[in-house]
């Protein structure tokens, strides 16, 4: 196959007709109903949508943390459905950084040890200067030896951000990384993500906050498991007004269902 040099670089994340159905006791839930997505290298994408619209499910499926019901996910050219659990784990810890909605730090490890763990799991030695630089960058330079229970919610979130960056991943996924932060630390984390994206880092972030979304290059709006809208070079007021419309129509849909 030829590689035409004038073509755009291939997307880092490629998603085709992605569907996820949860088989619940109260009947199945279609969390994702056919998602197509191309995320260009070095872009900063925000995903917004009402609660329960499938944002976390999309992020987990795209990052190889959960197996979709059908459809295809490609990460850096690798088709995730062809990998077994161990190879998927190895690909994840090398090429993906993930900031979880619920932090997921190990209680026994210090902030520094938590940050370095993905590298160690991959059999690499952590460079203490690099760890320190990352901790400094998320504003926790003096907290490296603290354990998670000695940190506030926002500080834990920032440790999780540093951990997601330690392996220099191809993509960073972040599920509401500023949800637990005050305005100042949220700004700092968003500024950090923006700077990373400007330096060529691909970032996909779920958020409920229009201001956070305005740091991104493009916003995707998710409703009821499908992408219903998108906005390039978003500004906070624009994002807020689109979200208001979306939530309103979602509510109207919910009410209709109730009446029927």
């Amino acid at each position: 196959m030829s590689h035409p040099s004038h073509a755009a670089a291939p997307p880092v994340v490629r998603v085709r007709d992605l569907r996820v159905r949860y088989e619940g006791e109260a009947g199945p839930v279609d969390a994702l109903r056919g998602i197509d997505l191309d995320v260009p290298r070095g872009s900063f994408t925000a995903i917004m949508g009402p609660s329960g619209s499938g944002k976390t499910t999309l992020l987990h499926s795209a990052a190889g943390l959960q197996t979709p019901t059908s459809g295809m996910v490609e990460l850096g050219g690798a088709d995730l459905s062809t990998l077994d659990a161990t190879r998927l784990t190895k690909l994840r810890r090398r090429r993906v950084g993930f900031v979880f909605q619920a932090f997921h730090l190990l209680a026994a490890l210090t902030a520094r040890q938590n940050v370095e763990l993905p590298l160690r799991l991959d059999g690499k030695r952590a460079d203490p200067r690099r760890t320190q630089a990352l901790l400094d960058r998320v504003g926790l330079g003096a907290r490296g030896e603290h354990r998670p229970h000695q940190l506030s919610g926002g500080q834990k979130q920032r440790v999780a951000v540093a951990r997601a960056l330690i392996t220099d991943p191809e993509v960073v996924f972040a599920d509401e990384p500023t949800g637990a932060l005050d305005i100042r630390s949220a700004r700092d984390v968003l500024g950090l993500l923006r700077a990373l994206a400007d330096g060529g880092q691909t970032i996909i972030m779920v958020t409920h906050d229009p201001v956070a979304a305005s740091f991104s290059d493009q916003v995707l709006f998710l409703a009821d498991g499908v992408i219903v809208d998108h906005l390039r070079r978003p500004s906070a007021p624009e994002v807020a007004s689109r979200m208001a419309t979306l939530v309103e129509s979602a509510e109207r849909a919910a009410n209709t269902v109730e009446i029927v």
Partner: protein, 431 residues
């Protein structure tokens, strides 16, 4: 209360099993004691069948109490959130403790009925074996009565309630908003009573075993004092489980891979996770190796005769009963403490640890616990048996015969490794 028990089946099963076997053992002794006190029992058998069950029964009650405290503690560690919830809505620590004491009483009562029946049968079986070995007179028949076995079962119930009260004390008294998994060892001052108790037990045990040195080789007191000494020293070492773990961890070769790295941190920072393993493995190795080793010395050097054979039989019985009891308690507690780490294993996997890496981390921690327990148990047993060997043979050499130690170590380590591998693999895969 039964509804709440149904939600915590694992812990209830563990406490129930420990209570069941405890009841069987104590009731067996009560059945023999009943026979010893019965009018139908002939001359010499009367004193033997009262002394033997009282002495051994006393030890069994002590060990059941110890095992219950640990089992309840492990079971409750899996329910810290529920405890915090109760405290947040205004339950006092005493109310929380009373709730768990009540729950444990329910479980133990359910276990007591079959335990009582099995214990009474077991008593008859033991007497029958003694009779067959010529240890008791042929005319002595099994006459347990009903009063003593029932008292024994009630005693185990009482022990269970006391154990639940003690075992839940720490968790019920903490702040309800404290971290559900305290990573750092909190409150250094709290270690003191435990260390003092351990020192007292060790001094009492070693004192009792050394006293044998001045005795005549054929004096029956040599055995009567060394046996309990073995148990005392083992219990004393159990109480030092956190220190033993830290020491083993420090001596362990520092692996550079991630599994070894995290395992080392876990053992240092949260020894609580590995402590139940050490507790029961030290008991298992210490008591089994000590008793078997004593018996080895005895077999090699005492003239064959009625009394010697009798004591041999009793000692082997002790090893089998206590060994089985502690193996079950070990299995229970290990499984419960591994199941409680589900969320931690899930986090490991999210961060990029393969299942194999997480299992290696767990086995490394278990291995550290095994090493600490095996060394401590063996040394404790040897220290007790050396004076015994000197008294019997004039030289300590017989105390170092390897077979009894090898048997106890291999059996204990194998149980721990197999249980940890199977339970760990299942929990990690489904985490």
């Amino acid at each position: 209360m039964l509804r709440s028990l149904a939600h915590h089946r694992g812990g209830a099963v563990a406490s129930g099993l420990v209570a069941f076997i405890g009841t069987v053992l104590v009731t067996t002794m009560a059945g023999l004691l009943g026979t010893g006190l019965a009018d139908t029992t002939i001359g010499d058998d009367k004193s033997f069948l009262t002394q033997f069950p009282i002495i051994l029964g006393g030890w069994v009650v002590a060990i059941v109490l110890f095992a219950m405290v640990s089992t309840v503690g492990v079971a409750l560690a899996g329910r810290v959130e529920e405890i915090a919830g109760l405290r947040l809505v205004g339950a006092t620590p005493r109310q929380v403790q009373a709730r768990f004491a009540g729950e444990t009483l329910t479980v133990a009562a359910i276990a007591a009925v079959p335990g009582l029946a099995a214990g009474m049968l077991m008593g008859g079986f033991v007497l029958d074996r003694m009779d067959a070995a010529g240890l008791t007179e042929p005319g002595t028949v099994y006459a347990p009565g009903i009063v003593l076995p029932v008292i024994a079962a009630v005693l185990v119930l009482a022990v269970s309630v006391v154990a639940a009260w003690i075992g839940s004390r720490t968790l019920a008294n903490r702040s309800p908003v404290a971290d559900p998994e305290p990573a750092a060892p909190t409150g250094r001052g709290r270690n003191r009573p435990r260390r003092i108790a351990a020192a007292l037990l060790l001094v009492a045990g070693l004192g009792s075993s050394s006293a044998v040195l001045g005795m005549d080789a054929d004096d029956i007191l040599t055995t009567a004092m060394t046996g309990p000494a073995v148990v005392l020293v083992a219990v004393g070492l159990c109480a030092l489980a956190p220190e033993l773990l830290l020491l083993a961890n420090r001596l362990a070769r520092s692996g550079s891979n991630a599994s070894a790295h995290v395992a080392r941190i876990n053992v240092t920072v949260v020894p609580r996770r590995t402590r139940p393993l050490v507790t029961f493995l030290v008991l298992f190795v210490g008591v089994s190796a000590g008793t078997l080793s004593m018996q080895g010395v005895e077999n090699g050097h005492a003239a064959p005769g009625g009394d010697a054979q009798l004591l041999a039989a009793i000692n082997y019985l002790v090893v089998v009963l206590l060994g089985a009891f502690m193996a079950i308690a070990l299995t229970n507690n290990l499984m419960a403490s591994i199941a409680q780490r589900r969320a931690e294993f899930a986090t490991m996997s999210l961060v990029g640890s393969t299942h194999a890496q997480t299992l290696r981390m767990l086995l490394r921690e278990v291995g550290t616990g095994i090493a600490a327990s095996v060394v401590a148990g063996t040394l404790g047993a040897m220290a007790c048996v050396v004076p015994f060997a000197v008294a019997k043979t004039g030289s300590p050499a017989a105390a170092f015969a390897p077979l009894p130690y090898a048997l106890a170590i291999v059996a204990g380590a194998a149980i721990a490794l197999v249980v940890a591998t199977l339970a760990g693999r299942r929990v990690i895969r489904t985490a």
